[in-house]
């Protein structure tokens, strides 16, 4: 017997004109798990739509014509879901309004989603807690207080992989610029400058902020001397990065809200492989509901693998 093909959900893009860069990057990540395509009446009805609206009128038009779950990327105007409901006297069919919310990526209203323009796909990086960092350093023969400087003027410039691996095991790091989100995601205890903090909207508990070179070295040394501070920074940083700077998280969040979330579409975490092996051994068809159910029930929340 040949198993039925697995349904891969389709998202249709509705846009008059240029798609904002941030949305384009978000959709490219969504494409890891579903078909993302332009609107075309010859194709089957999509599972969801993502529309770009540059005015309240466009928002209204999208809402009136949406027959499937829809996300609206609002450009230029700031309003809440509640305002839309009030203004148009329409039940809002959209599952989510998305705002490119600058440095702040707070959820605006219960059906809105903020996507930081600084967000990028960070799903390849997993948090390494401080005590496991220490064990890695030991294994690699590195100094117990091995630190890294990335993105600062006097930094060395190893290959990207070198940066990432170094940040993953460092006791602490001085980081600014484009590598800051990666360092935060990896749970690296970070010393950085105020400009970087402001640009990413990092909360005070996520990093150690300094103003000049002298205070940088001082802060770095003080940080290494305080295991409690290191642990607190590491966890707060990783959590912030996962929830606010990772396009993978934002994309999965968006798909979840559109009803498209499907465990197993991402790179398979270990438990899914285990489950799949057990189900295969029982000759369970790929389309069997129990397969989907097992994956859903056993999935830990977003970002936990």
């Amino acid at each position: 017997m040949k198993a039925a093909p697995i349904h891969v959900p389709a998202i249709e893009i509705i846009a008059d004109g240029r798609i904002p860069d941030s949305l384009a990057r978000l959709l490219r990540v969504c494409a890891k798990w579903c078909h993302v395509r332009a609107g075309d009446p010859r194709l089957a009805v999509p599972d969801a739509k993502v529309a770009v609206a540059r005015s309240r009128t466009q928002v209204k038009r999208v809402l009136e014509n949406s027959d499937v779950p829809c996300a609206i990327w609002v450009v230029g105007e700031e309003f809440t879901v509640e305002e839309v409901e009030r203004e148009f006297s329409l039940p809002v069919l959209a599952r989510v309004l998305m705002f490119e919310s600058g440095a702040q990526t707070q959820i605006v209203g219960h059906r809105a989603l903020g996507v930081s323009p600084n967000a990028r796909f960070l799903g390849d990086h997993a948090c390494v807690p401080p005590f496991i960092r220490a064990r890695w350093r030991l294994r690699l023969g590195l100094d117990e207080n091995f630190t890294v400087r990335v993105g600062v003027p006097d930094a060395l410039k190893p290959a990207e992989g070198g940066f990432s691996a170094s940040l993953a095991v460092a006791a602490a790091a001085v980081v600014s610029g484009e590598w800051l989100p990666v360092a935060l995601m990896l749970g690296t205890p970070v010393v950085t400058d105020k400009a970087s903090v402001d640009a990413l909207g990092i909360p005070a508990e996520g990093v150690c902020v300094v103003s000049d070179q002298a205070s940088t070295d001082e802060a770095l040394n003080a940080l290494i001397e305080s295991p409690e501070r290191v642990a607190a920074l590491s966890r707060a940083a990783s959590r912030f990065a996962r929830e606010h700077l990772d396009l993978g998280y934002a994309a999965r969040n968006l798909m979840h809200r559109l009803g498209l979330a499907r465990p197993g579409l991402h790179v398979r975490p270990w438990h899914e492989t285990q489950l799949a092996n057990v189900l295969d051994a029982m000759n369970t068809p790929l389309t069997a509901p129990i397969r989907q159910r097992a994956l859903e029930l056993s999935s830990l929340p977003l970002g936990s693998y």
Partner: protein, 337 residues
Amino acid sequence: MDIVVCGAQVPFMRGGAELHMDNLVAALNAAGHRADLVKIPTAWDRERLLDSALAWRLLPIDADLVIATNFPSYFVQHPRKVVWLFHQHRPAYDLVDTTWSDFGSDDASLEAQRLLVDWDTTALEEARQVFTTSKLVASRLERFNGMASEPLYHPPPLFDRLHEGPFGDYVCCATRLEGNKRPLLLANAMHYVEPPTQMVLAGKGHLDAELRALLVSRELEDRVSTPGFVSDDDLVELFAGAFAVVYAPIEEDYGYVTLQAFRAGKPVITTEDSGGVLEWVEDGVTGLVTENSPEALGAAIESLSNDRDLARRMGAEARDRVATLSWGPVVDKLVAR
């Protein structure tokens, strides 16, 4: 309310954790709730460590409240989950790189450890409230997972039956004869204690044969008795008749032996690396705390053997320290949220 207590168990093993779960269920039922215990087998080896965790994620638990206890039972999913943490998988945390851990410094170990920490943190953060059995367990949770928790002390088994008695010529201990309980250290200590002082080392375990061989080689068979498992009645009398209790596990999470000894009005001789035991044993006040050497333990046993008045004073103070332990406040806290 309907409450399910969740616990993991290695088949054929029974110790403090199993007694703790049974007594918790009994206390919940006594408080007017309808409580039941759900246990799932688990394996501690690294390769199969997360199998049981996954199984817990899949279980349908229909109850008003779920109380998860040890690793990996807290992976259970429920909208009203409270964790009373006995311990995490210690070989991946504080016991790593010891003889009790199969987590090494190889890539696979480190990644398994990283994943476990991530999963543990995620599953524990789902709980409405996390309690621990002791400050030590709470401090480990803070150190390794960055999570705050509240220690919740409870009375040990036989609490209502344990009583004071004569300060006889022996020290005793009732524990599983396993490496982390260090029964060989206790027996070796007797080499440095003068007759007629005796030791009763009750319990069974993998070190049974090794212990007996040690006693023969050290010519201590006549001074250290190993009755194996003893009945509850015998255990109560064993504590009652001793002049002190000696108990020196490595980094014990809680340690019923200490509390049972205190309830029986006996001081406890322990070591400075015995973990949760030290939350109760105050050196020179409710017992003696020594280095973890047979010589130091032997000297401590000898000193209390020679000064029974001191043992009595410490025993009285120890009994006072546990006088207020009861299940009522524990149950109230667990069901409060």
